[in-house]
Protein backbone atom coordinates (compact mmCIF):
# COMPACT_ATOMS: atom_id res chain seq x y z
CA UNK A 1 0.00 0.00 0.00
CA UNK A 2 1.31 3.51 -0.67
CA UNK A 3 2.75 5.29 2.37
CA UNK A 4 0.26 7.25 4.36
CA UNK A 5 0.81 10.65 5.88
CA UNK A 6 0.86 10.57 9.66
CA UNK A 7 -1.09 13.82 10.00
CA UNK A 8 -3.74 12.46 7.65
CA UNK A 9 -4.06 9.27 9.68
CA UNK A 10 -4.25 11.22 12.94
CA UNK A 11 -6.97 13.47 11.52
CA UNK A 12 -8.98 10.48 10.30
CA UNK A 13 -8.56 8.82 13.70
CA UNK A 14 -10.12 11.93 15.22
CA UNK A 15 -13.14 11.45 12.95
CA UNK A 16 -12.17 13.78 10.08
CA UNK A 17 -14.09 12.39 7.08
CA UNK A 18 -12.32 14.59 4.55
CA UNK A 19 -9.01 13.14 5.70
CA UNK A 20 -10.42 9.64 5.45
CA UNK A 21 -11.72 10.31 1.92
CA UNK A 22 -8.19 11.33 1.01
CA UNK A 23 -6.89 8.06 2.42
CA UNK A 24 -9.48 6.16 0.36
CA UNK A 25 -8.32 7.91 -2.80
CA UNK A 26 -4.66 7.25 -2.05
CA UNK A 27 -5.11 3.57 -1.22
CA UNK A 28 -7.80 2.69 -3.73
CA UNK A 29 -5.76 1.28 -6.61
CA UNK A 30 -3.65 -1.08 -4.54
CA UNK A 31 -6.65 -2.12 -2.46
CA UNK A 32 -8.49 -2.85 -5.70
CA UNK A 33 -5.63 -4.99 -7.04
CA UNK A 34 -5.36 -6.91 -3.80
CA UNK A 35 -9.12 -7.56 -3.77
CA UNK A 36 -9.07 -8.47 -7.47
CA UNK A 37 -6.32 -11.02 -6.90
CA UNK A 38 -8.69 -12.88 -4.58
CA UNK A 39 -12.20 -12.39 -5.94
CA UNK A 40 -11.01 -12.25 -9.55
CA UNK A 41 -13.54 -9.90 -11.02
CA UNK A 42 -13.69 -6.11 -10.93
CA UNK A 43 -17.28 -5.75 -9.79
CA UNK A 44 -16.76 -7.94 -6.75
CA UNK A 45 -13.40 -6.28 -6.12
CA UNK A 46 -15.16 -2.91 -5.98
CA UNK A 47 -17.62 -4.23 -3.39
CA UNK A 48 -14.78 -5.70 -1.37
CA UNK A 49 -12.83 -2.45 -1.43
CA UNK A 50 -15.87 -0.52 -0.19
CA UNK A 51 -16.44 -2.96 2.65
CA UNK A 52 -12.74 -2.90 3.51
CA UNK A 53 -12.66 0.90 3.74
CA UNK A 54 -15.73 0.95 5.98
CA UNK A 55 -14.14 -1.66 8.24
CA UNK A 56 -10.89 0.31 8.16
CA UNK A 57 -12.74 3.43 9.39
CA UNK A 58 -14.42 1.50 12.18
CA UNK A 59 -11.08 0.12 13.36
CA UNK A 60 -8.82 3.10 12.76
CA UNK A 61 -8.27 3.33 16.50
CA UNK A 62 -6.28 0.10 16.30
CA UNK A 63 -3.77 1.55 13.87
CA UNK A 64 -1.57 4.07 15.64
CA UNK A 65 1.46 3.75 13.38
CA UNK A 66 1.22 5.29 9.93
CA UNK A 67 4.16 3.16 8.76
CA UNK A 68 2.20 0.01 9.63
CA UNK A 69 -0.99 1.20 7.96
CA UNK A 70 -0.27 -0.48 4.60
CA UNK A 71 0.17 -3.97 6.00
CA UNK A 72 -2.71 -3.52 8.42
CA UNK A 73 -5.12 -2.33 5.73
CA UNK A 74 -4.01 -5.04 3.31
CA UNK A 75 -4.93 -7.62 5.97
CA UNK A 76 -8.41 -6.08 6.15
CA UNK A 77 -8.82 -6.14 2.35
CA UNK A 78 -7.72 -9.76 2.16
CA UNK A 79 -9.99 -10.78 5.00
CA UNK A 80 -13.02 -9.02 3.50
CA UNK A 81 -12.24 -10.54 0.08
CA UNK A 82 -12.04 -14.06 1.48
CA UNK A 83 -15.29 -13.54 3.40
CA UNK A 84 -16.87 -12.29 0.19
CA UNK A 85 -15.72 -15.39 -1.69
CA UNK A 86 -17.08 -17.61 1.06
CA UNK A 87 -20.46 -15.85 0.96
CA UNK A 88 -20.55 -16.18 -2.82
CA UNK A 89 -19.83 -19.88 -2.59
CA UNK A 90 -22.64 -20.34 -0.11
CA UNK A 91 -25.10 -18.29 -2.12
CA UNK A 92 -24.12 -19.42 -5.60
CA UNK A 93 -27.39 -17.98 -6.86
CA UNK A 94 -25.95 -15.63 -9.40
CA UNK A 95 -23.51 -16.42 -12.14
CA UNK A 96 -20.28 -14.54 -11.62
CA UNK A 97 -19.91 -14.22 -15.37
CA UNK A 98 -23.15 -12.27 -15.65
CA UNK A 99 -21.83 -9.81 -13.08
CA UNK A 100 -18.46 -9.66 -14.73
CA UNK A 101 -19.82 -8.50 -18.05
CA UNK A 102 -21.61 -5.52 -16.55
CA UNK A 103 -19.56 -2.43 -17.37
CA UNK A 104 -19.91 1.17 -18.35
CA UNK A 105 -19.20 2.64 -21.79
CA UNK A 106 -20.17 1.83 -25.38
CA UNK A 107 -21.62 -1.66 -25.89
CA UNK A 108 -19.02 -2.78 -28.44
CA UNK A 109 -16.03 -1.68 -26.38
CA UNK A 110 -17.59 -3.05 -23.23
CA UNK A 111 -18.20 -6.40 -24.85
CA UNK A 112 -14.65 -6.63 -26.15
CA UNK A 113 -13.23 -5.59 -22.81
CA UNK A 114 -15.50 -7.98 -20.98
CA UNK A 115 -14.39 -10.86 -23.20
CA UNK A 116 -10.74 -10.01 -22.60
CA UNK A 117 -11.38 -9.78 -18.88
CA UNK A 118 -13.09 -13.14 -18.94
CA UNK A 119 -10.10 -14.72 -20.71
CA UNK A 120 -7.68 -13.12 -18.27
CA UNK A 121 -9.82 -14.09 -15.28
CA UNK A 122 -9.98 -17.68 -16.45
CA UNK A 123 -6.21 -17.71 -16.91
CA UNK A 124 -5.69 -16.17 -13.48
CA UNK A 125 -7.71 -18.91 -11.84
CA UNK A 126 -4.75 -21.20 -12.43
CA UNK A 127 -2.53 -19.03 -10.24
CA UNK A 128 -2.14 -19.10 -6.49
CA UNK A 129 -3.37 -16.10 -4.49
CA UNK A 130 0.14 -14.78 -4.01
CA UNK A 131 1.04 -15.24 -7.69
CA UNK A 132 -2.08 -13.30 -8.72
CA UNK A 133 -1.31 -10.55 -6.24
CA UNK A 134 2.31 -10.19 -7.35
CA UNK A 135 1.28 -10.26 -11.01
CA UNK A 136 -1.35 -7.54 -10.54
CA UNK A 137 0.88 -5.36 -8.38
CA UNK A 138 3.79 -5.61 -10.81
CA UNK A 139 2.15 -5.71 -14.23
CA UNK A 140 -0.89 -3.57 -13.52
CA UNK A 141 0.14 -1.25 -10.68
CA UNK A 142 3.79 -0.91 -11.64
CA UNK A 143 5.19 -1.75 -8.22
CA UNK A 144 8.83 -2.77 -7.91
CA UNK A 145 9.84 -6.09 -6.35
CA UNK A 146 11.20 -4.34 -3.26
CA UNK A 147 7.82 -2.67 -2.69
CA UNK A 148 5.88 -5.89 -3.30
CA UNK A 149 8.20 -7.81 -0.99
CA UNK A 150 7.60 -5.33 1.81
CA UNK A 151 3.87 -5.21 1.19
CA UNK A 152 3.14 -8.92 1.14
CA UNK A 153 5.92 -10.04 3.47
CA UNK A 154 8.15 -12.11 1.18
CA UNK A 155 11.71 -11.64 -0.04
CA UNK A 156 12.45 -9.81 -3.28
CA UNK A 157 13.71 -13.08 -4.72
CA UNK A 158 10.41 -14.78 -3.95
CA UNK A 159 8.52 -11.88 -5.47
CA UNK A 160 10.52 -12.35 -8.69
CA UNK A 161 9.91 -16.09 -8.60
CA UNK A 162 6.14 -15.63 -8.11
CA UNK A 163 6.02 -13.16 -11.01
CA UNK A 164 7.96 -15.47 -13.30
CA UNK A 165 5.74 -18.45 -12.49
CA UNK A 166 2.59 -16.35 -12.79
CA UNK A 167 3.57 -15.03 -16.22
CA UNK A 168 4.49 -18.50 -17.48
CA UNK A 169 1.18 -19.95 -16.33
CA UNK A 170 -0.77 -17.02 -17.75
CA UNK A 171 0.90 -17.37 -21.14
CA UNK A 172 0.20 -21.08 -21.21
CA UNK A 173 -3.43 -20.54 -20.19
CA UNK A 174 -3.90 -17.74 -22.71
CA UNK A 175 -2.43 -19.93 -25.43
CA UNK A 176 0.53 -17.68 -26.18
CA UNK A 177 3.34 -19.71 -27.72
CA UNK A 178 6.40 -19.99 -25.52
CA UNK A 179 9.38 -18.95 -27.67
CA UNK A 180 12.49 -21.05 -27.62
CA UNK A 181 14.97 -19.67 -25.13
CA UNK A 182 17.81 -20.04 -27.61
CA UNK A 183 16.04 -17.77 -30.05
CA UNK A 184 15.58 -15.15 -27.32
CA UNK A 185 19.31 -14.97 -26.79
CA UNK A 186 20.07 -14.35 -30.44
Amino acid sequence: MPPIDRALLDAARQGDRTAFAQIVRGQFRVAFSTALSIVQNPTDAEDVVQDAFVRCWQRLGQCENSAAFGGWFRTIVRSVAHNHLERERVRATESIDSVRTAAAGSPAVDLERAELRTRLSDAMRGLTDVQREVLLLFDLEGFRHAEIAELIGVSEGMSRRHLLNARQRMRTALGEPEPLKTKEKE
Binding site: R17, A21, V24, R25, V54, Q58, G61, L120, M170
Partner: protein
Protein backbone atom coordinates in the same frame (compact mmCIF):
# COMPACT_ATOMS: atom_id res chain seq x y z
CA UNK B 1 15.04 -9.27 -22.06
CA UNK B 2 13.46 -12.72 -22.24
CA UNK B 3 9.85 -13.53 -22.99
CA UNK B 4 9.27 -14.03 -19.26
CA UNK B 5 10.38 -10.48 -18.56
CA UNK B 6 7.57 -9.06 -20.67
CA UNK B 7 4.57 -7.73 -18.86
CA UNK B 8 1.22 -9.39 -19.27
CA UNK B 9 -1.24 -6.78 -20.45
CA UNK B 10 -3.69 -6.56 -17.58
CA UNK B 11 -5.07 -3.18 -18.52
CA UNK B 12 -8.50 -4.77 -18.86
CA UNK B 13 -8.47 -4.87 -15.08
CA UNK B 14 -7.38 -1.28 -14.65
CA UNK B 15 -9.86 0.24 -12.21
CA UNK B 16 -9.76 3.42 -14.25
CA UNK B 17 -11.38 1.63 -17.21
CA UNK B 18 -14.48 2.60 -15.36
CA UNK B 19 -13.78 6.31 -14.88
CA UNK B 20 -16.51 6.68 -12.28
CA UNK B 21 -15.30 3.80 -10.14
CA UNK B 22 -13.08 5.73 -7.76
CA UNK B 23 -15.62 8.48 -7.13
CA UNK B 24 -18.36 5.89 -6.76
CA UNK B 25 -16.32 4.00 -4.17
CA UNK B 26 -15.46 7.18 -2.28
CA UNK B 27 -19.10 8.30 -2.28
CA UNK B 28 -20.42 4.90 -1.21
CA UNK B 29 -17.85 4.57 1.54
CA UNK B 30 -18.63 8.05 2.86
CA UNK B 31 -22.37 7.27 2.78
CA UNK B 32 -21.85 4.06 4.68
CA UNK B 33 -19.79 5.70 7.39
CA UNK B 34 -23.03 7.35 8.52
CA UNK B 35 -23.23 10.57 10.46
CA UNK B 36 -22.89 9.03 13.90
CA UNK B 37 -20.05 6.60 13.36
CA UNK B 38 -16.61 7.70 14.44
CA UNK B 39 -13.50 5.54 14.33
CA UNK B 40 -12.80 3.45 17.38
CA UNK B 41 -10.83 5.51 19.81
CA UNK B 42 -8.74 3.68 22.36
CA UNK B 43 -11.31 2.11 24.66
CA UNK B 44 -11.93 3.31 28.21
CA UNK B 45 -10.18 0.18 29.47
CA UNK B 46 -7.10 0.93 27.36
CA UNK B 47 -7.05 4.52 28.61
CA UNK B 48 -7.39 3.26 32.20
CA UNK B 49 -4.65 0.71 31.70
CA UNK B 50 -2.26 3.29 30.32
CA UNK B 51 -3.11 5.66 33.20
CA UNK B 52 -2.46 2.91 35.75
CA UNK B 53 0.73 1.98 33.93
CA UNK B 54 1.92 5.61 34.15
CA UNK B 55 1.00 5.78 37.85
CA UNK B 56 2.74 2.48 38.53
CA UNK B 57 5.85 3.72 36.80
CA UNK B 58 6.08 6.78 39.03
CA UNK B 59 5.32 4.76 42.17
CA UNK B 60 7.98 2.19 41.24
CA UNK B 61 10.56 4.95 40.64
CA UNK B 62 9.74 6.61 44.00
CA UNK B 63 9.92 3.28 45.84
CA UNK B 64 13.28 2.53 44.22
CA UNK B 65 14.72 5.88 45.31
CA UNK B 66 13.54 5.33 48.89
CA UNK B 67 15.00 1.83 48.99
CA UNK B 68 18.39 2.93 47.63
CA UNK B 69 18.52 5.82 50.09
CA UNK B 70 17.64 3.56 53.04
CA UNK B 71 20.23 0.96 52.10
CA UNK B 72 23.06 3.36 51.37
CA UNK B 73 22.50 5.54 54.45
CA UNK B 74 25.02 4.69 57.23
CA UNK B 75 23.24 2.58 59.81
CA UNK B 76 20.30 2.17 57.53
CA UNK B 77 18.35 -0.99 56.96
CA UNK B 78 20.13 -4.04 55.64
CA UNK B 79 19.30 -4.82 52.05
CA UNK B 80 18.15 -8.40 51.43
CA UNK B 81 21.17 -9.08 49.25
CA UNK B 82 23.71 -7.88 51.82
CA UNK B 83 25.33 -10.53 54.07
CA UNK B 84 24.01 -10.66 57.61
CA UNK B 85 26.23 -9.59 60.54
CA UNK B 86 28.68 -12.46 61.14
CA UNK B 87 27.68 -14.34 64.29
CA UNK B 88 30.41 -14.52 66.84
CA UNK B 89 31.71 -18.06 67.28
CA UNK B 90 30.11 -19.37 64.12
CA UNK B 91 33.51 -19.95 62.52
CA UNK B 92 34.86 -21.79 65.61
CA UNK B 93 32.22 -24.51 65.38
CA UNK B 94 31.17 -23.98 68.99
CA UNK B 95 27.64 -23.16 70.11
CA UNK B 96 26.85 -19.62 69.11
CA UNK B 97 26.16 -18.63 72.71
CA UNK B 98 29.76 -19.56 73.66
CA UNK B 99 31.09 -17.14 71.13
CA UNK B 100 28.74 -14.49 72.49
CA UNK B 101 30.07 -15.03 75.98
CA UNK B 102 33.67 -14.89 74.78
CA UNK B 103 32.98 -11.57 73.16
CA UNK B 104 31.02 -10.23 76.14
CA UNK B 105 32.59 -8.65 79.17
CA UNK B 106 30.56 -10.56 81.75
CA UNK B 107 30.65 -14.29 82.43
CA UNK B 108 27.67 -16.51 81.76
CA UNK B 109 25.57 -17.85 84.54
CA UNK B 110 25.71 -21.55 85.45
CA UNK B 111 22.26 -22.02 84.01
CA UNK B 112 23.31 -20.55 80.65
CA UNK B 113 26.38 -22.82 80.54
CA UNK B 114 24.19 -25.82 81.29
CA UNK B 115 21.74 -25.02 78.51
CA UNK B 116 24.51 -24.23 76.08
CA UNK B 117 26.35 -27.50 76.65
CA UNK B 118 23.42 -29.87 77.01
CA UNK B 119 21.05 -28.10 74.61
CA UNK B 120 18.54 -27.86 77.47
CA UNK B 121 18.37 -31.64 77.79
CA UNK B 122 19.12 -33.80 80.80
Amino acid sequence: MTHDDERIDLSAFDPENDPDRLERVVANVMDRLGPGIVPDSPSFLQEFESLVARRHRSIAVAAGIVLIAAVSWPGGVRAPWEPAEPQVGAGLEVPVSWGTWLAADENPSAEEVFFATTGGGE
